[in-house]
């Protein structure tokens, strides 16, 4: 097919910045530090770097090459590209995921984008600074903003500024996407990305220069870095059962070691049991016998105590043998590099046959890595450590994207000098990062509607606006406990992403093949592409992806399937969300069927001429 292309990138730097913009998002500044802290601290970097080398780079090169390959044959959408490569209309259905995934992810990502804007505005107008040093108040503010307390809360009229931010973000995204590749996405990324990096450096400088917490001098920047980067070794104690008939009084647990009070890393407790997790480093060499004394109070006023024995520190190898750490690291690489979504496939389809992809791809990955490791790894956790301490950050729920970004950090900015300005700057940079990412999520569908249905840009943008608006309203409405967001995120950004990534490596490595694939990668390359890459793409990456997928699915999938069950004769939000996803898939199957008809006609016309 040799359809005339109407759109293209305007400059080499523009493509790189757009791809970096697509990749850099909330995941770099909030998800990465949280995942590292939850999965062994500095040890997390071992699976992270391995995943980058054996999945990240091979998959990035495959996706760039597949996109350029399809683009030079007249296709910019994943269905069109897959149909062209596989030589059958069924290929278009396989590629459908590369359109549906980014579009559905956009439907909830825009809510997070609006939340960043809302928080940036909140710091400017004083709404958030006035909450002061109160984690609970900030958490309440955040939950009210997204309507986490009840379904439909966002539309109840109680929080119109957040709704205005959501409308504003939608308008910004669609007006930019309407302007097209070079005049919209490229120009915006060329302005936003440098601005984002400058904002991040200003915030980083502020965090580095923060003095230690006067009440807790060990809560300083260097120790905060240590909390993020030290290879973590922890010790646990046995679970202590509270005597029958008694109930544990919250926050009454104290630990001592040979008469000296010690601060545990984490106390996991409920009304009837306590388990303590200890930081290995702090007590290294102090307690040779690993004996600790624990005291606690019960609600009936009794002071109880016990002696407990901590386990030996967990070895580095034991931490690394935990499959969950590898799953988390691989997932982060995917998220971080925007791989397996179909975004790069569409972006690179606007390149010419002899445009370099090898160096551009590496440059984009390095730019993203810089934002993630250097900026993301040094801002959120050290800042939160100084003001909130180790105990707060040791609770996994406090270092998730929401907990860290929208509860812990606003509280941190509220406590630091000139915090309102730095809080605004931080959330504004998150907002910019989110816009550059969300733009890339819209383009794959625009490409399909334009080339598959022959719609004009105006019509395709309008149709996409209607579809995504329905999705966003659905997710924003079923906001209680983030149920709809969580379900759609799970199936799209966790489940299907692995499947689509595996399909891409197989198509590039086995359908295009070893020789042709390598030639395709080398075409226009401005660096030498190592030959081993085809071994990685053909064997190692698919096997690694499959292994990680099975491990991950075994651990998490049953819970999400169970969540779909109806209760009291009413469908659960998870069930409704799945139904919504299926509805979207059906709609896109129809679009792809119509596109196939159109492409067949074009093929026939071409054959005749």
């Amino acid at each position: 097919m040799s359809k005339e292309k109407k759109e293209s990138w305007n400059s080499r730097v523009g493509v790189i910045l757009a791809v970096v913009g697509s990749a850099v998002g909330l995941g770099n500044f909030l998800r990465f530090p949280g995942e590292a802290v939850k999965n062994g601290g500095g040890l997390f970097m071992v699976p992270y770097i391995i995943a980058f080398l054996i999945v990240g780079i091979p998959l990035a090169w495959s996706e760039w090459a597949l996109g350029r390959y399809g683009g030079n044959r007249g296709h910019n959408s994943a269905p069109g590209i897959f149909r062209e490569i596989l030589g059958t209309s069924k290929g278009a259905y396989l590629g459908m995921l590369g359109t549906i995934m980014p579009m559905l992810i956009y439907t909830y990502y825009v809510i997070l984008e609006a939340l960043c804007l809302y928080f940036a505005w909140g710091f400017l107008n004083g709404d958030i600074p006035k909450l002061g040093n109160d984690v609970g108040a900030v958490a309440t503010h955040f939950k009210a903003a997204v309507g986490a307390n009840a379904n439909g809360e966002l539309f109840s009229g109680s929080n119109s500024p957040m709704l205005i931010c959501l409308i504003l973000c939608t308008l910004i995204n669609f007006s930019l996407i309407y302007r097209g590749i070079s005049k919209g996405i490229e120009i915006f990324c060329a302005i936003a990305m440098p601005m984002l990096v400058v904002c991040a450096f200003v915030v980083l400088f502020r965090v580095i220069t923060l003095p230690a917490n006067p009440e807790h001098p060990d809560q300083n920047f260097i120790n905060g870095l240590g909390f993020m980067w030290n290879p973590e070794q922890t010790r646990t104690t046995e679970v202590i059962q509270i005597p029958e008939g008694e109930t544990l009084l919250p926050d009454s647990v104290h630990l001592s070691e040979h008469g000296e009070n010690i601060t545990p890393l984490l106390v996991k407790s409920d009304a009837q049991s306590i388990q303590v997790i200890l930081d290995h480093h702090k007590h290294d060499g102090v307690a040779a016998d690993n004996q600790f004394t624990i005291t606690y109070e019960t609600e009936s006023g009794k002071n109880l105590g016990d002696t407990l024995t901590a386990t030996e520190p967990q070895s580095y190898l034991k931490t690394l043998s935990n499959p969950g750490v590898w799953v988390a690291a691989t997932g982060q690489i995917f998220f971080s590099l925007s791989l397996g979504f179909g975004l790069i496939l569409t972006y690179s389809s606007y390149l010419k046959r002899d445009d370099d992809i090898a160096l551009s791809s590496i440059t984009s990955a390095a730019g993203n890595g810089f934002c993630e490791v250097v900026l993301g790894g040094m801002i959120a956790i050290p800042a939160a450590f100084i003001f909130l301490g180790k105990g707060f950050l040791s609770d996994p729920s406090n270092v998730g994207t929401f907990g860290l970004g929208f509860v812990a950090l606003p509280n941190v900015f509220n406590q630091m000098p000139a915090g309102a300005f730095f809080g605004f700057l931080f959330f504004f940079l998150l907002f910019l990062a989110a816009v550059t990412s969300s733009l890339s999520m819209l383009q794959p569908t625009i490409a399909l509607l334009e080339e598959g249905l022959g719609l004009s840009r105006k019509k395709s943008v309008s149709l996409l606006a209607v579809i995504t608006l329905i999705g966003t309203i659905f997710i924003a409405w079923f906001s209680q406990g983030f149920a709809a967001l969580d379900t759609v995120d799970f199936w799209m950004a966790n489940f299907f992403i692995f499947i689509f990534a595996t399909i891409q490596t197989i198509i590039f490595g086995w359908v295009i093949g070893k020789e042709k694939g390598y030639k395709e990668l080398c075409s226009g390359a401005e660096i030498k592409v190592p030959k081993i890459i085809m071994v990685l793409i053909r064997y190692i990456s698919p096997l690694y992806l499959l292994g990680i997928f099975l491990l991950w699915a075994k651990g998490i999938l049953p819970g999400y399937i169970k969540a779909m069950a109806w209760s009291n004769g009413k469908p659960s939000v998870a069930f409704l969300s799945i139904s919504f996803i299926l509805l979207v898939i059906t709609f896109f199957a129809f679009v792809v069927a119509k596109s196939n008809q159109r492409w067949r006609k074009e093929d026939l016309l071409e054959e005749k001429s």
Partner: protein, 48 residues
Amino acid sequence: MTVAGWMVMGFTVIGVISLLSWSIWKVISTPNSTEHLHGTMDIDPEDD
């Protein structure tokens, strides 16, 4: 912060900065690199 922590952070940060610096240097120093790309092809949003 432990010695191991400094080493992990140093290795990762220096690695990423080196890769980025090398990539940018290659992009800038490759002759006619940007000419590989198309010239501006105006997009007409009113293309119906």
